[in-house]
């Protein structure tokens, strides 16, 4: 997450001298995505295709459910973005464009599985049943995480990039020790793949054969840096060097994301250890509401990806198969409106915490210094009351 300044224009200057730096003569492997490697079950045009290894066979209800999830998630996200513009939130990190990756993987989970998200997994939170308004607290600045992780097996958002990959691995090691057959999923981004913590999570999970799925949403950008600044080969290949499988899935194809994640979770459950899933997708919006992507990326790129939109794609398929009709869409539109209204209303009701919250929950068993400072603070506050300040 970033908060950024508005910065003035710099006066023009003569071009600077360059050092005589040697250019790499021949990069060994192209960093460009290898399209054929992508697992896909639904083309951008909405055509259902088969894959030799992965498949899904969903009921019409399930299909409609996925569509509904994506539409409502997008609606919630749009609502949050506009609440930020209205000053109700300090910041928002939009998932626009990543709905298929999140709903597909989120719907592959069982209730007893455990999720370790980044700060952008609003769609996964939705699948877990976390009340969307709870996600807004930290972006509004009333808390640093507003839900009980154990109510929905959905951990708090983690901002320090990559840290949660280790928590997920440790949690999964615990699951294995318990002899349970649940699985754990860790979300992170393409940028996060460079953090040492993620590499260490790969090592630990492999060595202990932990039941964890690493779900990397490669949305092509880490703020202003394209994926080429993190790796020169496709990210999913990282896994093999640690001794577990990696697979790249079309991250805008909700069916493929569901199928691939399900298979990976199944491997985890059956004692075969970790899998790395790279969901190849795109961050359609800014990094956060503080970001200005026009400074670093071309409009054309965004337009290309618009043609691969995850929601349109499923809709085309469901319409072609007559799984959805105008009534369904109208009802969903109304549900969206209701959700939007509820989010708007509840944010305005969300109270600021009392100042004394600063001193709460720092320690589970108490701490003398906190007690002292809490008391001093109370006395200090009271002094104003007395003075009528």
């Amino acid at each position: 997450m970033t908060v950024e300044s508005t910065a003035g224009r710099r006066p023009r200057r003569a071009p600077a001298k360059r050092t005589g730096a040697r250019k790499p003569k021949q990069p060994v492997q192209p960093a460009a995505p290898d399209q054929p490697e992508l697992v896909q079950l639904l083309t951008p045009e909405g055509k259902r295709v088969e894959h030799p290894e992965y498949s899904v066979d969903l009921t019409p209800d399930e299909l409609r459910g996925l569509y509904r999830d994506m539409v409502l998630t997008r609606r919630f996200d749009a609502e949050a973005t506009s609440l930020q513009r209205q000053g109700e939130l300090g910041l928002w990190a939009s998932l626009l464009g990543q709905e298929a990756a999140q709903i597909g993987s989120g719907r592959a989970l069982r209730d007893d599985d455990y999720v370790f998200p980044t700060y952008r997994e609003h769609g996964v939170a939705w699948c877990r049943g976390v009340d969307p308004t709870n996600l807004l607290g930290m972006f509004r600045g009333v808390n640093n995480g507003g839900w009980d992780p154990n109510s929905n097996n959905f951990h708090l958002y983690t901002i320090v990039i990559g840290s949660q990959a280790l928590h997920a691995t440790g949690y999964a090691m615990g699951v294995a020790k318990d002899g349970a057959d649940s699985a754990v999923i860790a979300y992170f981004g393409d940028g996060a793949s460079s953090q040492g913590d993620v590499a260490e999570a790969f090592t630990f999970s492999a060595v202990y054969n932990a039941p964890v799925v690493f779900f990397c949403q490669n949305n092509q950008w880490a703020i202003s840096e394209p994926t080429e600044k993190q790796t020169r080969v496709p990210l999913y290949r990282r896994a093999a060097g640690y001794g577990f499988p990696g697979v790249r899935v079309d991250g805008n194809d909700v069916l493929a994301c569901l199928a691939v994640t399900r298979a990976a979770l199944e491997r985890a459950r059956s004692g075969q250890g970790p899998t790395l899933v790279e969901a190849f997708t795109y961050r359609m919006g800014a990094h956060t509401t503080s970001d200005d992507p026009t400074r670093y990326r071309r409009d054309a790129e965004r337009e290309e990806w618009e043609a691969k939109d995850p929601i349109q794609r499923l809709r085309a398929h469901l319409e072609a198969e007559s799984v959805i009709d105008a009534d369904f869409l109208a009802a969903l539109e109304e549900e969206s409106e209701t959700l939007g209204r509820r989010v708007r209303e509840s944010i305005r009701l969300m109270p600021d915490p009392p100042p004394t919250a600063i001193f709460e929950n720092i320690y589970a068993d108490g701490h003398a210094l906190v007690d002292e400072e809490r008391a001093q603070f109370a006395a200090y506050q009271a002094s104003f009351a007395e003075e009528g300040h």
Partner: protein, 329 residues
């Protein structure tokens, strides 16, 4: 730049101009960090530098702070002078090992035979309504460690000159940038002769009590001094500028006159730089002090969510309250 010597600039822009000047003067100066290139950094402190100096000198790095600092060390060993940006205070910790066990100690390990001219820029402190990890003040965690120098400018002119000096220093310097003052404008005279990097400055003279601060809290202390003046109390304000080393001589000189000292910083009071200043000044000025050295700072608590930060951060009232308490002795 040649012609105009005095410019009125926001603090962030003063650092930008200083980086530009350093890069013009010395081809070995490099900038490294996340998003420092095309984006110009999330605060635009490196704005335009990649365009003018190229990708070889303004390097967008992978998202890995230990890697950034570790490779910067390697570049310094090769003769470069890297200026590293850590995007926000709370993200410096993945690099902490490289900073503390390598950057800080390598010169001594080599018995002085190699030098580590690395500057680590950290936008720090709160007050901008940000989410977790974006408002911390971790300076004590670096100042405690021998081999590092830590500084923080409070205004645009110091930002310009202290960055020039930090880059020229052959020692590693952690350069704490008061992010909530990035937009505050000040006059920068690029032809001036700057005072030594680690020297404190008396930014307001006074007789009744000394306020010592650095970075974002200097402005607050000046406001407090103005408010106190209206009530007839004369506060001296010291801008320490450097947290390692600390200019204790300057503090001592002031306290020997005013006989009272309040130290203000955003970082938690417990084991914050104020604890060292209190301990050492009490030792040096034991018979001069009319009151114990008081400290105003953050609580022993994680930095709170934005809606509570005004309660957490030292504000005018809390500073004046400490002043009153010190004067009451």
């Amino acid at each position: 730049m040649a012609a105009e010597k005095v410019m009125r600039l926001p603090l962030a822009k003063a650092i930008n101009e200083s980086l530009r000047k350093a890069m013009e003067d010395d081809a070995k100066v490099l900038i490294m960090g996340e998003d420092v290139g095309k984006l110009g950094g999330v605060f635009r402190v490196t704005d335009g530098l990649q365009k003018d100096f190229g990708e070889d000198r303004v390097v967008d790095t992978p998202l890995a702070e230990s890697g950034i600092v570790g490779t910067a060390i390697g570049m310094a060993l090769r003769g470069y002078r890297p200026v590293v940006e850590i995007q926000f205070d709370g993200f410096v910790f993945p690099a902490y090992d490289q900073i503390v066990t390598q950057l800080a100690k390598m010169h001594a390990r080599a018995l002085g035979k190699i030098k580590l001219p690395v500057v680590i820029r950290i936008p720090y402190g709160g007050g901008i309504g940000a989410v977790e990890h974006h408002s911390e003040s971790p300076e004590a965690l670096f100042a405690h460690v021998a081999g590092l120098k830590c500084v923080s400018p409070s205004n645009a002119a110091d930002a310009y000159w202290m960055m020039q000096q930090a880059i020229r220093s052959d020692d590693p310097v952690i350069f704490f940038e008061p992010k909530r003052r990035y937009w505050d404008k000040g006059e920068v005279d690029t032809a001036a002769t700057p005072r030594p990097l680690h020297e404190a400055v008396t930014v307001r003279e006074g007789t009744d009590l000394t306020l010592a601060a650095y970075g974002p809290m200097v402005k607050l202390c000046l406001e407090a001094a103005a408010a106190a003046a209206e009530e007839g109390t004369s506060l001296e304000v010291l801008d320490l500028r450097s947290m390692s080393p600390i200019d204790f001589d300057a503090v001592q000189r002031s306290v020997e006159r005013t006989r009272r000292l309040v130290v203000v910083h955003e970082a938690p009071v417990f084991l914050g730089t104020g604890s060292e200043i209190a301990a050492r000044i009490t030792e040096r000025c034991f018979y001069h002090l009319e009151a114990p050295v008081l400290r105003v700072g953050g609580y022993h608590a994680p930095y709170p969510p934005a809606r509570l930060e005004d309660e957490y951060l030292p504000g005018l009232d809390r500073v004046l309250d400490a002043v009153d308490r010190a004067l009451a002795y």
